[in-house]
């Protein structure tokens, strides 16, 4: 069935599919783990039972999403070898140790303390349990550090030499790890996960507020989420801008594609708001542009020279249509999020944060916004890395495993089928849990079948079976 199709293209599709799906889950659980640590910390400090209720509410959701993240993550660690064997052989010397450190310092940490976090509230003291929650959160952040360092090295390699057989040899690990794009990608991605979690928490809060605007748990959730939106989203826009500057310095061709610049503009490039990129003819059709704004954004100088894709051989260009539009989707959502934050501040000022139904409905709709923005951003940076796996040095076409198209086609179909059914179901369960309101002291927890996460520490609650 797949005989005529390019095996490398199928391998790319499969990797893209599995990694996009996978990253949806840590996008949520990285922020959620930290949020759970904050909730538990606030409960310990203030003794306000609302925080414990919210902890118990979100920890159930966390458990489901985290499990999906783990099993989809194992796929990634084997997919480098199964489908990108040449890349693994040549680049394993550099990337391998970074991934090994991720396993040793992060995966084991989160997995090791997850059991106590989810099931151990009755078995260890409060402070020990809190430490376990914090360590799981720390584990997720350490994980981001290593994987983003590895990914950033692929984008902006440094600290290496290339041996006679084409194998990359690391020369200086500090240079490898702290390569030029790493700090920017790290900050931008971690903030993105926190923003994503905020909008999900906000959406759930808003959902329950629409049913009952006096619901104290919903009010607490919504308020916390909207503070995040108001404060962190502007920071994220700055972080994104900074990453843009860095990308222009090290991967200008990627920026050309993202901006839709086929022509060169020695005196300042326009911002192409929308258009239809035609890569065959190397021109932007039906473009709506704002003069000088492109250069202002990309190099912070309205008259800054920006060159176009026409100066780059066609075989070295990334797919423009994909990254031009994915970038706009990400930025567009960022703007919407900024707007939400601003409105929330205004509403708070008027003491009406929970009282505008239209804003609550908007918050519900904006729930998945972070996931869309994150996915669009990753598509931009990764498809923008094409046609290279190691930017400028190793082509994607030279990176794939010696597998025939039917083999990869079959596995791709299998992944698509399993992921949509299994993870689709998981997401459905997650939504069902979100549709339930966090009650006072969760009396339902003790009576519902299933893993009792935290039976409560007060003696009275412990007697309930």
């Amino acid at each position: 069935m797949f005989e005529g199709v390019d095996a490398v293209f199928l391998a790319r599709l499969q990797f893209a599919f599995t990694v996009i799906f996978h990253f949806l889950f840590p996008s949520f659980t990285i922020g959620l783990a930290s949020y759970l640590a904050v909730l538990e910390g606030l409960w310990l400090k203030t003794k306000n039972e609302i925080y414990l209720d919210l902890f118990k509410y979100w920890v159930k959701i966390f458990a489901v999403v985290f499990a999906m993240g783990v099993v989809s993550g194992i796929v990634m660690s084997y997919e480098f070898g199964s489908n990108w064997a040449k890349f693994s052989d040549k680049v394993g010397t550099v990337i391998g140790p970074l991934l090994a450190y991720e396993v040793l310092t992060a995966f084991f940490l989160e997995a090791g303390f997850l059991g106590v976090m989810l099931f151990g509230m009755n078995r260890v003291g409060r402070n020990v349990h809190f430490a376990a929650t914090c360590l799981v959160a720390v584990g997720t952040l350490i994980s981001s550090f290593w994987i983003l360092s590895a990914n950033s090295w692929m984008q902006t390699p440094q600290g290496y030499a290339i041996g006679p057989d084409g194998q990359f040899i690391p020369l200086d690990w500090a240079e490898v790890i702290f390569n030029p794009s790493f700090p920017y990608r790290l900050v931008h991605t971690i903030i993105a996960t926190f923003v994503t979690t905020s909008f999900m928490v906000g959406a759930v809060g808003a959902w329950h507020l629409l049913k009952d605007k006096t619901n104290p748990h919903a009010r607490k959730m919504f308020s916390m989420a909207m503070w995040m939106a108001a404060i962190v989203v502007p920071v994220q826009l700055v972080a994104g801008d900074q990453q843009g500057l860095n990308t222009q310095a090290h991967q200008p061709v990627k920026i050309m594609g993202m901006e839709g610049h086929f022509e060169s503009y020695p005196n300042g490039a326009p911002l192409v708001l929308v258009g239809i990129p035609d890569q065959k003819e190397q021109k932007m059709k039906y473009a709506i542009e704002i003069p000088k704004l492109g250069s202002l954004i990309v190099v912070h100088d309205p008259n800054g020279a920006l060159y176009g894709l026409k100066t780059v051989p066609l075989e070295d260009q990334p797919p423009v249509a994909v990254i031009f539009w994915s970038f706009r989707i990400m930025v567009g959502i960022g703007m919407l999020m900024l707007g939400m934050g601003l409105i929330s501040l205004i509403a708070r000022g008027k003491k009406k944060l929970y009282d505008w139904p239209w804003f609550l409905k908007l918050s519900v709709i904006m729930g998945p916004a972070g996931f869309i923005a994150i996915t669009a951003g990753w598509v931009t940076t990764e498809v923008g890395r094409q046609p290279f796996t190691v930017y400028g040095l190793l082509r994607t076409a030279d990176s794939a495993s010696p597998l025939a198209a039917p083999a990869v086609g079959a596995s791709l179909l299998a992944f698509i089928f399993v992921y949509f059914t299994v993870f689709g179901t998981g997401i459905w369960y997650m939504l069902k849990m979100m549709a339930q309101s966090p009650h006072d002291h969760n009396p339902g927890l003790e009576t519902e079948p299933g893993p009792v996460r935290a039976a409560g520490i007060t003696p009275a609650a412990q007697e309930v079976k």
Partner: protein, 334 residues
């Protein structure tokens, strides 16, 4: 004295794989045994005995795979395409197994479906892991630093044998774990299963050992040539001693020894595997030195291993200790 980092890394990867096999072995074993456990509370108890630890256990698989990429990238990039359908099936099986832990509670109406998914996922993963082992031991065709065989080289009577053997061996791990963690009838059922699984595992070890000798004259030489025979003979001798100890422990009604002795038996099979293939990491043509990563990568990672692994073992042990004793249905319960 010149320290060979490659040899050290071979042992580290072997350790990671061993840790995975014995730890996730009992998780998968319980999954494979699920249909034999009565629906309802009994299944809940069995699941609950591993729910707090399964994720940490499975992480050793990521260390084994990721560690292989890091320490022996050539081997990783040959073995995975060579066993492509097995790897993909294993990953999909692990997905079903992993989500079942949570999903079966989230959807009580479909708990039966997720229980079957737990079983099928565990069984699939076990078979694929066993067959991958067989595919490696029987030799993989390599040309020019790449896999040069066909679509189905991994599928042979030998690999089917090793696949089945790992399934049986995991049920031994799973049932002896349940003997440790369950009480009353449930423990008695686990004992009965453990006895059968034990005999099955002994048979499997014997058959696989003989079959691997038949695969390649080299394997015969490694085991039977003097003076090495003096040492290699210790493996079957020790295994037989362990078998006796196991039988006596079961007869005495000991709850913990059967699991511990099973671990020791697995260790013997690992030593046997090492005797057969060391120093080849992709039999017959790729040695650990052929496949090793750059020395600067080996040493960089070694620092991490030396610091992190003792810590990992420490807090992992602590976590097991927190959930020590019989799983039961009081206190922490599911």
């Amino acid at each position: 004295m010149h320290i060979d980092l490659t040899v050290i890394w071979a042992f580290i990867i072997a350790f990671a794989v061993f840790a995975y096999v014995v730890l996730d072995g009992f998780d998968l074993g319980i999954g494979i045994l699920f249909p034999t456990i009565k629906v309802g509370e009994r299944r809940d108890h069995a699941m609950n005995s591993i729910a707090p630890v399964w994720d940490g256990n499975e992480t050793w698989l990521v260390l084994g795979g990721g560690g292989m990429l890091a320490a022996f990238p050539l081997a990783y990039s040959i073995i995975l395409p060579a066993t492509y359908p097995l790897i993909i099936a294993m990953l999909l099986g692990l997905i079903f197994r992993g989500v079942a832990f949570e999903f079966r509670w989230r959807d009580v109406k479909h708990q039966g479906f997720w229980d079957r998914a737990f079983f099928a996922g565990s069984l699939t993963a076990a078979i694929c892991q066993g067959m991958t082992l067989g595919a490696i031991v029987q030799g993989i065709r390599v040309e020019d630093r790449a896999y040069a065989g066909g679509w189905l080289d991994w599928l042979t009577p030998f690999s089917l044998l090793t696949g089945a053997s790992v399934v049986v061996a995991y049920t031994l791990l799973g049932s002896t774990w349940l003997v440790m963690k369950m009480e009353g009838d449930e423990r008695d059922q686990a004992r009965a299963t453990a006895k059968r699984a034990f005999l099955g595992t002994l048979a499997a070890i014997a058959v696989v050992s003989l079959a691997s000798l038949a695969l390649d004259q080299n394997y015969v030489h490694r085991w039977f040539d003097m003076p090495g025979l003096i040492l290699t003979a210790l493996v079957p001798v020790t295994s037989i001693a362990l078998a006796f100890a196991f039988w006596r422990a079961m007869k005495a009604g000991n709850d913990i020894l059967p699991f511990v002795l099973t671990l020791a038996l697995f260790f013997m099979t690992f030593i046997g595997l090492g005797i057969s293939i060391y120093p080849n990491i992709v039999p017959p043509s790729i040695t650990i030195w052929d496949a090793a990563t750059a020395p600067i990568s080996q040493s960089f990672m070694l620092y991490g291993v030396v610091v992190a692994v003792p810590l990992i073992l420490g807090y992992t042990g602590w976590s097991y200790w927190v959930f020590r004793g019989k799983t039961g249905s009081h206190g922490y319960h599911h």
